[in-house]
């Protein structure tokens, strides 16, 4: 037990470069596998959380752009959603990496200032951008659908009260859209988290053997030549994280629905609506 605490101390933050420099090589214990794979989970949460938060804002903008009358605004939004929803994330990662390494090493001159580009090829930035755009496209589609299913009566009521323009959007349309979209958006959050496992799997290389949960699971499967222990550990961790997500989003959902009578509230039902 003591040695396990030692292992956690040594490897608990290994994935972000704190602790032992070298990974265990022989005599793999269950404790090591749990610790290192759990340490890798930090990256999954990092990618998932940041992409989701940033993607939320872009998704709102794109959902609105999709409802625009002006084709110069609508068409690019539609194409953006189509490309990111219509192709496998696996291929998106790969292409993104291949394109990012083509950027000049010395940086790009913009208005006399040299902008560094080399950090873009690192997973923490490059993969995050891909995930951010990807989740923005999926969420935009959800929000767009929700915008279109806002009850007509709500909008007419707003007109009757003389609320219009920005006021109408902020006070009526947007909250209703969020409320309608939230169950699907919860699913999107879960599946985004799952797809973070693809980061080190296609395209982006791991530096200093710092990778995500699946990377370490792969390492152990490769070293112990036994896939039946590390992968179920990954599964176990992801179930835990999913439960946390469901709990958190459920709390938000209750808040969004708090003005409605009990029987009209939207329940979050986990449905595979929007994975990639």
């Amino acid at each position: 037990m003591n040695s396990c605490l030692q292992t956690i101390q040594d490897y608990g933050l290994r994935s972000i470069g704190i602790g032992e420099n070298l990974l265990p090589k022989t005599d793999f214990t269950l404790c090591q596998q749990f610790t290192l794979i759990g340490s890798g989970l930090i990256w999954n949460v990092y990618f998932g959380a940041l992409a989701l938060v940033a993607g939320f804002f872009l998704a709102n903008a794109i959902a609105l752009a999709k409802t625009a009358r002006n084709p110069w605004i609508r068409k690019p939004a539609e194409w953006f959603v189509f490309v990111f929803r219509g192709s496998p994330l696996f291929i998106q990662f790969f292409l993104a990496y291949e394109l990012l390494v083509l950027l000049p090493r010395s940086g790009i001159e913009v208005l006399g200032i040299t902008v560094q580009t080399s950090w873009l090829t690192k997973a923490w930035a490059g993969a995050l951008i891909v995930l951010f755009l990807n989740t923005a496209a999926y969420s935009a589609e959800i929000f767009h659908g929700a915008l279109r299913s806002i009850p007509k009566g709500d909008l007419e009521a707003a007109d009757a009260y003389g609320i219009s323009g920005w006021q109408k959007f902020r006070r009526i349309q947007w909250p209703t859209m969020l409320r309608l979209a939230w169950p699907s958006y919860t699913n999107e959050a879960i599946f985004l988290l799952q797809s973070t496992t693809l980061v080190f799997f296609s395209g982006f290389p791991a530096f200093r053997q710092q990778g995500d949960a699946l990377y370490y699971a792969n390492y152990f499967a490769d070293k112990t030549f036994n896939p039946f222990i590390p992968y179920p550990i990954v599964a176990f961790y992801f179930i835990l994280v999913t439960l946390v997500v469901i709990y958190g989003f459920g709390a938000v959902n209750r808040r969004l629905n708090r003005h409605l009578p009990q029987n009209m509230r939207a329940k979050i039902r986990l449905r595979p609506q929007v994975i990639r």
């Binding site: 070298l22 090829t121 290389p205 200093r208 499967a221 490769d222 070293k223 030549f225």
Partner: protein
């Protein structure tokens, strides 16, 4: 009586034949590591190990089938019985020896080398290597920043596009890339010899097969035909027995 004897003899012969045919040995390779093994433009396994493997099978009187498998899972699939022999430029190491058996080496302990885009490359900086190779383990311990890619090809691409300062891999694999790069890539630093040479990987339980293959390899070493093969695929710089 004579007839009957003849009939049994024929029967015995065909039975023997049938038994020989039953014993198909499946060879598993990666198919992405020229000149050791690669998929040629016809879509067939080719390279040094193809020719070597076919020769070994002929000498050991085995019927052999070729199959390819991702490097990542090449050992679990051997243990699962999806093929019987790994012939994929796999270096003999203690770690691997714990789970599978190796024949004697059919390629001498070869040098691994760094290749970089400039002569003054920092070998303690970012160095790429293929994931789960002995070279990757070496780089991790050398204090350099290990950058891992799933295929050997990507490790070299990373040097070309400046993602890493150098790539660390088998020198024989790197040599054609350096030769054909028209000066864009070069060997830097000293060669490092790691691993116990390249051997055929087998399940520990397949002792009979191991003996047969070992005998065939010994024969090829003794009559010099192995050296001829090495010369053919690795050129004059290839290490001989």
């Amino acid at each position: 009586m004579k007839k009957l004897l003849l009939a049994t003899a024929v029967l015995a012969m065909t039975a023997g034949l049938a038994a020989a045919q039953d014993k198909v040995v499946r060879l598993g390779t990666e198919g992405a590591y020229p000149p050791f093994n690669f998929i040629d433009d016809k879509g067939e396994v080719a390279g040094f190990e193809r020719e070597f493997g076919d020769e070994i099978c002929k000498r050991a009187a085995l019927t052999c089938e070729w199959t390819t498998n991702e490097w990542d899972s090449i050992i679990p699939n051997l243990q699962s019985g999806n093929y019987d022999v790994i012939i994929a430029g796999m270096s003999i190491t203690d770690e691997r020896e714990e789970v599978i058996d190796f024949t004697q080496n059919y390629y001498p302990p070869a040098a691994s080398a760094y290749v970089a885009a400039s002569a003054d490359a920092d070998l303690k900086g970012n160095v790429s290597a293929q994931v789960s190779t002995i070279q990757a383990a070496y780089v991790a311990e050398s204090g350099a920043t290990l950058v891992e890619y799933p295929t050997p090809d990507e490790t070299i691409a990373a040097v070309r596009n400046g993602e890493v300062q150098a790539v660390f891999a088998d020198k024989d694999y790197l040599r054609p890339f350096v030769d054909e790069s028209a000066g864009a890539l070069m060997f830097v630093g000293e060669d490092i010899s790691i691993g116990g040479g390249v051997g055929l990987g087998l399940r520990s339980s397949d002792t009979e097969l191991k003996d047969k293959l070992n005998a065939a390899i010994t024969a090829m070493k003794e009559d010099g035909s192995l050296n001829v093969l090495i010369e053919k695929y690795f050129g004059a710089e290839g290490l001989k027995f």
